[in-house]
Symmetry: C2
Subunit: 201 residues, 2 copies
């Protein structure tokens, strides 16, 4: 059985849980408290030398890290990853966009506010992330104005990857009020079969 080392309120970890539930794959969840440096212990670093969560234990001694690589691993050959060559690459294109242009701005702002509780201390950092964060949301809004999902014409791991931190963007200080296409897409993702919330155990 798969084992997921994660934090319940981390969007990167939520991605993996959401997909496993929708795939009806049983898994064990191991809580890792990053604020207590539990991803930096010698035991954890032996599993993932990069010291990050989520981490998927495929079988004892076989680990995979990087949330979007885990999504790829779990979804290959299923309805959540396209069978068309170009659509497969577009799925990954959006997942790379998520990790490069979206997560470092929106998720990191949320981390400062929600996890560290230190918006004043990190004010210049938060301010520097506002522009690029909204620019990423603009790119999403632009795409969703003419399309229902990110890759292919249906729900894939590209949507799971981008949903994770977009649906809690307000916790990072990002206002989605003027993004109607994103809001409609968030509702579409939530309405997918077997959807679970971030906090679900």
């Amino acid at each position: 059985m798969y084992k997921v080392y994660g934090d319940l309120y981390s969007g990167n970890c939520y991605k993996v849980k959401l997909l496993l539930v929708q795939l009806e794959q049983p898994f064990e969840w191991v809580d890792i408290d990053i604020l207590k440096q539990e991803s930096r212990t010698p035991e954890f670093l032996a599993k993932n030398p990069n010291g990050k969560i989520p981490l998927l234990e495929i079988e004892p001694e076989t680990y995979l890290c990087e949330s979007n690589a885990i999504l790829y691993y779990l979804s290959e050959g299923t309805e959540f990853f396209p069978s068309d060559r170009l659509e497969r690459a577009q799925t990954l294109q959006w997942l790379f966009f998520e990790q490069y242009s979206h997560e470092p701005n929106i998720a990191t702002s949320r981390y400062i506010i929600r996890y560290l509780g230190a918006p004043e201390e990190y004010k210049p950092v938060l301010e520097a992330k506002r522009g690029p964060g909204y620019a990423a949301l603009d790119v999403m809004e632009n795409h969703l104005t003419t399309q229902d999902f990110f890759a292919s014409d249906r729900y894939t791991i590209a949507d799971i990857g981008l949903y994770a931190y977009t649906h809690v963007a307000h916790e990072g200080g990002f206002d989605l009020y003027s993004y109607p296409a994103i809001n409609a897409w968030l509702a579409r993702v939530k309405s997918q079969a077997k959807h679970v919330t971030m906090s679900a155990r």
Copy 2:
């Protein structure tokens, strides 16, 4: 024929060129000068709303962006992408590592020094990127101490992805002197059949 919109000295663009040459795929190269904002023109934004290079034109009106998604698209089904399921996911794991933990520190430092020529102006930014940049190199060194390549036991797009900015890390102020395994791997990558340098036309 493929068309690549890129900058000759961008590592992200170099990845695509290197793979296309090694695949013996003919392609046309279109120079885009990012300092002249050529990736922000209305014409370019119509092709890639995220305004970034490289951009692959697969056929007229069909575009793919995100360098590592382009590597995936081009390498699927070839010797440069593993046939084993776990190794495929590990290849992507390293490519996501590259875009999240490596590129934003090492490539961005190089951009400030080499492109903007403004290390003094951006001194606090460069200083903030030193620790995470060296941490990424440590993760690579740790892996390469026991393995010749990143995913699988041979040269794949994971190596191409990581080679692009690692071989010019010194231009970003990163000293590779104390990374013997990385240096040996750089030499292995350079010795691959049909290898071309970054500046090759």
